[in-house]
Symmetry: C2
Subunit: 430 residues, 2 copies
């Protein structure tokens, strides 16, 4: 029996909104936002969307009107009462009132600032300018909208039955991965797949699959909305944008060299326990650790987000040992370019040597590789980064020169200041 009311209702939608909530974003954005709100409320920044996979010509695939409709819809969102209650009342990382009343007051009245949209060379130029705590919240919804609109452009050509097969295949594929992950002793894994997900509904399904298949080995999701809806832990700490903006604000080389530690010093005041996770690669891991102050060795762990992950973890272990720490009490979080094979290898290699957990992203929530002709649904490397702060360009080096960002001259200066030598290039898959 057709439910006529439902059918008529569905026809009334002008668009099918991709992002329907301000907390359909990564938890660490909110943690960072609060930190920025406290320490750099008035700093003006520019965020910019960058498609590192030039072969995916987004402006040819995605209709501009449709994109604007989705972005405008996101600008219309505000925190719902239930969302606010959840953020205020929930326990995050074992702590009540993670978000302070003054931050929540601000967030309850928050709307996303305007965007600037142009086309060039088959790509969209999408930028956001304004106060840092406002602009930074565009990152995840902007990425999610473009990823999903690209997907919809491909799915539009497919028949009803083809779609059913597609999702059956994608489910089967993910479940095969879950079956392999199940067998890894002591696994700890979280969903980090919001930004490059195939779609919201698919990410939500992937999270359910991990819940169902992995039990306690699944530690939670970075996505606040899904964490709220499914009563899961919201997972995440901090990201490159903090050192990138702090560094851009530094007035001279001495201040620049100090900037990454200033970030963590601010963080140290605000958070403890499992939120004290070092992200050391923004300007080269080796130099960062070599010059790190002693109080950083007390932190709980390190997140490895570029370069060879095993090497990164070995560097961290060696550093802890050199500073008299027992690595077996420390945590290494792998979050770059993960799929099941690498998760298995890294688990085996570091078992008993250091605590390990995984933030699994794109290959969890967007592995449609091989499922369409011409692989038109394969994930691609889209990022949304702080490119300027107070009119100065930002720079990222990371442990992989292919992930470096910023003007050439500034990159050279940063390399000098941070003592970064030769780096090994690694393919950026996603």
């Amino acid at each position: 029996m057709v439910d006529i009311a439902t059918r008529v209702w569905n026809h009334k939608w002008k668009i099918d909104p991709i992002v329907r909530s301000l907390i359909d974003t990564d938890f660490y954005k909110l943690l960072m936002c609060q930190s920025v709100f406290r320490n750099h409320r008035d700093t003006r920044v520019t965020f910019s969307l960058i498609n590192r996979t030039k072969s995916v010509r987004l402006a040819d695939l995605v209709d501009e009107v449709e994109l604007r409709e989705q972005l405008d819809h996101i600008r219309s969102l505000s925190l719902s009462r239930g969302e606010s209650t959840w953020l205020r009342g929930n326990t995050f990382y074992g702590k009540r009132q993670m978000f302070t009343p003054d931050f929540m007051d601000w967030f309850e009245h928050f709307r996303l600032p305007p965007y600037h949209l142009d086309k060039r060379d088959g790509q969209y130029e999408l930028t956001f300018e304004g106060p840092w705590p406002e602009v930074m919240l565009w990152e995840i919804p902007a990425l999610a909208v473009l990823m999903e609109l690209r997907g919809r452009a491909v799915l539009r050509d497919m028949g009803r039955f083809e779609l059913q097969i597609l999702y059956a295949q994608a489910m089967t594929k993910l479940w095969e991965k879950v079956e392999r992950l199940k067998r890894i002793p002591g696994l700890k894994l979280a969903d980090f797949g919001t930004r490059r997900r195939h779609s919201f509904l698919w990410q939500d399904w992937c999270v359910q699959a991990l819940q169902e298949g992995l039990g306690d080995a699944f530690t939670g999701t970075s996505n606040c909305l899904i964490a709220k809806n499914r009563d899961l832990e919201a997972i995440g700490t901090n990201a490159h944008e903090l050192p990138m903006v702090y560094a851009a604000l530094a007035d001279d080389d001495a201040a620049l060299a100090k900037a990454p530690y200033d970030v963590l010093s601010d963080w140290h005041e605000e958070h403890d326990g499992n939120l004290r996770i070092i992200l050391p690669d923004t300007y080269g891991t080796a130099g960062f650790l070599r010059n790190a102050p002693d109080w950083l060795t007390q932190w709980t762990g390190i997140r490895i987000d570029s370069g060879d992950p095993a090497e990164g973890a070995e560097t961290a272990i060696a550093w802890w040992k050199s500073r008299g720490e027992d690595p077996r009490e420390k945590l290494v979080i792998f979050s770059d370019g993960l799929d099941v094979g690498r998760i298995e290898d890294l688990s085996a290699r570091f078992r008993g040597r250091v605590r390990v957990s995984f933030g699994w992203g794109t290959m969890l929530t967007n592995d449609f590789i091989g499922l369409t002709e011409g692989d038109r649904l394969a994930p691609f490397s889209l990022v949304c980064k702080a490119v300027a702060a107070e009119g100065r360009p930002t720079v990222k080096l990371s442990d992989n020169p292919r992930k470096a960002m910023g003007p050439e001259g500034e990159i050279a200066r940063y390399k000098r200041v941070f003592g970064v030598g030769e780096q090994v290039e690694r393919d950026v898959v996603v």
Copy 2:
């Protein structure tokens, strides 16, 4: 939004009926029924359900009350007006009015006769006795009910999410088969999977997958209800029950030797073209062809339903050649134990030598092998056969001694009369 009316309605069902239509049966049952109705209306027969896979203890798995409810529901069915119109008005095998007005008058008033149900050694003993045209129509629904109840017994223990994964995997598995079948040049394939299907809905989905994936290579389905609903060709000709009952009715060895040809002589009067398909293996293919009258060489083709299929086809080709026929004008229908690998092999072997088509059954509509722990959904070998006619036991030899049926003494007599020597044993998978 929950449709409360639908939900309440669904709760009101006392049972979820497995067979909901008298034409949810194989087309050849109706063709044969009409032939029997014309030639042997009052012959009394006994049909009996036999589970050749003793390890599947149906009586332990399937609740007797539930089984009776399903069988009683089937007895309550009668031909709907739309079904009758379709049978009367549709073109089958290019022919209008395949079913005669007197047969249709009878069928419109038809209800299935009573059943007898007992339990022994963990198995159900389910038998049907009465006039041949009535009893024979129990075969397919009885099989479908027991196959699906066994499936339901297994599925009952599975969670909502597990079920979603299960069907996603089964769809993916079937679609991989379709992708392989697509690449076979000149393929002609029909669904013969009603009797051992996982469920009605699953068979219906499998048919859609073949439609979607194979296009013209998919020639139709043996299931009349699905053919009607999806506007497909209904496919099928005749089965072993005709020679088995004709043979049982024979009064002496001479009449027995003649019985299989009497079947085809009656059929010859009733049908032409693609319905003139010889099923030669009931009492051994080699002897049957050796002794066949010349008019049989004019028939369109041969269906190979036991023994080594390639050998069976070679035997048929050699026979046609020995009788001056051009095998390239003839049709071989393979319908026993098929899966994609065998379909590929047989297609390649006989390409250009004979026309080939496939009646794909259990591994199309019930390949859940490997998808549950302990393989509790794997198909098993359930048959429903004519075991007696006018009080005399029936016998089937086939080209595989493991498929032989009947009392030992009678089997020996039949082997002598039909000149069947040594036979090669082959596993009966499904």
